[in-house]
């Protein structure tokens, strides 16, 4: 064990955290099941977006068939921005999935925390109301503008909707926001600030200004004539990401508490690491310094070594620079251990501050089902990405005892989350020592 991992361990004794519920709203569907199916099938969701007509990039990954009125009924959805609609929908699913009922007397409101990440909050509302101010004057500006667009308001509205009275906060680390929310929630649980944490990320940034600004910065794919092929993480011909929207929410509890209430544990969050490049506002450090530090911290907290990692759900945006730097950092740390690597962004596009939470939920499902989803559109590696074992074309069944979810964001933020399979249920026969080729104990043959 290195000095760095020893330091990480001594800083924070590991508190295994159970993931007892997940909820997803993504371009692959509304709900964790539809999203998991779409991601495992490797079906890209990018499509022409009529709402972006006349802008430099006219493709996006939208959540299909999302109607706030039916999805968020009863909560006055007309008052909220779309990013709050997504967060409410995902959070309610996650809470149900965990077998919790906020309306019941058992819901420990004061001991529930809520941490919701978002890169841009209600930027769509902000743009729309600002346009009204400029075009039709101040009398046409909605009084609901601030409660709709302030970035903390998804967290605030979720607290009202679910009756959460413990610590409630918003995390903003750009595209790592959702992962930062989960790491923060794990720390709140470890410090006994709460017993249950509702944590995740949400963003709805497919807006005229955001699309234009990303396009002007050269970050978006220009494969406008062939949208399904546009998002191609780690592929030699990648040319940028496709902007997406969505939300992911996970329910976290200390593993001992989850076991005590016989909660349906999907996986354990056994480690997390956060470190910063301190290098450049938007470009990753060329040596992947912050990312490597975050990876080592997560492994340290999980009491694991690089050789233990079977799978990595990468940040993999599909921009030339991100994927090159990430591939080098992963290869530099894992070397011959060579875990399988995937990026869900080939299917889902880049959901911004939601990505870290959505991909964490997908990593939970990956260890639960012992199935690594493919990277859509990954066909031809180039020198920098050929060092990785990228899962291509079809999902791969493999034994996964430890998987990492990696997130990076503008600002030089890096966060890594470590997941392991849930402990076997009480009364189950001992696991023994499965051979390396045997599927893990949580394999679901139906999936």
């Amino acid at each position: 064990m290195t000095a760095a991992t020893s330091a990480a361990l001594s800083m924070s004794p590991p508190t295994p955290v159970a993931v007892t519920g997940i909820g997803l709203v993504t371009p692959a569907g509304i709900g964790a099941d539809d999203t998991w199916k779409g991601v495992c099938a490797g079906r890209p969701t990018a499509a022409a977006d009529p709402g972006l007509a006349g802008l430099p990039v006219t493709i996006s990954c939208r959540v299909p068939g999302f109607d706030a009125r039916t999805q968020v009924g009863g909560a006055q959805p007309w008052r909220y921005d779309r990013f709050t609609h997504f967060a409410l929908t995902a959070a309610r699913e996650a809470v149900r999935d965990a077998g919790l009922d906020p309306a019941s007397r058992d819901w420990p409101a004061a001991r529930v925390a809520l941490v919701l990440g978002s890169a841009a909050g209600g930027v769509g509302t902000y743009e729309q109301q600002h346009r009204k101010l400029l075009t039709t004057g101040h009398r046409s500006v909605s009084p609901l503008t601030l409660p709709a667009f302030l970035p903390n308001m998804a967290a605030g509205q979720l607290a009202i909707d679910l009756g959460v009275r413990g610590p409630v906060l918003h995390t903003a680390t750009a595209c790592a926001s959702g992962a930062t929310a989960l790491a923060t929630a794990a720390m709140l649980l470890a410090s006994d600030a709460c017993d249950i944490a509702v944590a995740g990320g949400s963003d709805a940034m497919i807006t005229p200004l955001c699309v234009t600004a990303f396009a002007r910065a050269g970050a978006l794919s220009h494969r406008l004539d062939d949208p399904p092929a546009a998002s191609r993480p780690f592929d030699a011909t990648r040319d940028g990401f496709v902007l997406a929207e969505g939300a992911g929410v996970l329910i976290l509890e200390r593993a001992a508490d989850a076991a005590a209430r016989r909660a349906p544990t999907r996986a354990l969050l056994t480690g997390h690491g956060s470190a910063t490049d301190a290098h450049h506002p938007v470009a990753p450090s060329p040596d992947g310094r912050g990312l490597r530090a975050a990876l080592r911290q997560a492994l340290g907290r999980a009491a694991a070594t690089p050789a233990d990692v079977a799978h990595v759900n990468a940040h993999g945006t599909g921009t030339p620079l991100n994927d090159r730097t990430e591939a080098s950092a992963l290869h530099g740390l894992f070397g011959a251990a060579d875990p399988s690597v995937t990026s869900a962004k080939g299917v889902l596009g880049h959901t911004m501050g939601a990505a870290g939470a959505i991909e964490a939920a997908l990593t939970v499902l990956t260890v639960q089902h012992q199935l690594a989803p493919p990277t859509a559109n990954f066909h031809t590696p180039e020198a920098h990405t050929a060092v990785l074992d990228v899962v291509a074309r079809t999902a791969r069944r493999q034994r996964i005892d430890l998987a990492l979810s990696v997130s990076c964001g503008f600002g030089g933020h890096n966060t890594v989350l470590a997941f392991t399979p849930a402990p076997r249920p009480l009364g189950a026969p001992p696991a023994g020592t499965p051979s390396p080729t045997r599927p893990g104990p949580h394999l679901d043959p139906a999936s």
């Binding site: 006055q76 007309w78 008052r79 009398r139 046409s140 500006v141 909605s142 009084p143 609901l144 409660p147």
Partner: protein, 84 residues
Amino acid sequence: MDDVLQHLVTLLTDKFDVPADAILPDSTLTDMDLDSLAVVEFAVTLQELWHIDLDDDAAADITLDDLAKTVRGLLSEQSGTAAP
């Protein structure tokens, strides 16, 4: 029900999600669970739709019938603009 009242009812059900059975001639916007921000939003919406300046301070606690009367008055004050 005249056109103005019908439009107000449609606005309350479609935009503000007020249940149809809560909309009565003698209910106020406050009775229909519109808080102060929602009442201002209601006034802004009428401003956008019909270009009338409804006083939101006065709008919250008058009955729907009186509200329709007020809106009718504001519409007829507008020269050259037909009622919706």
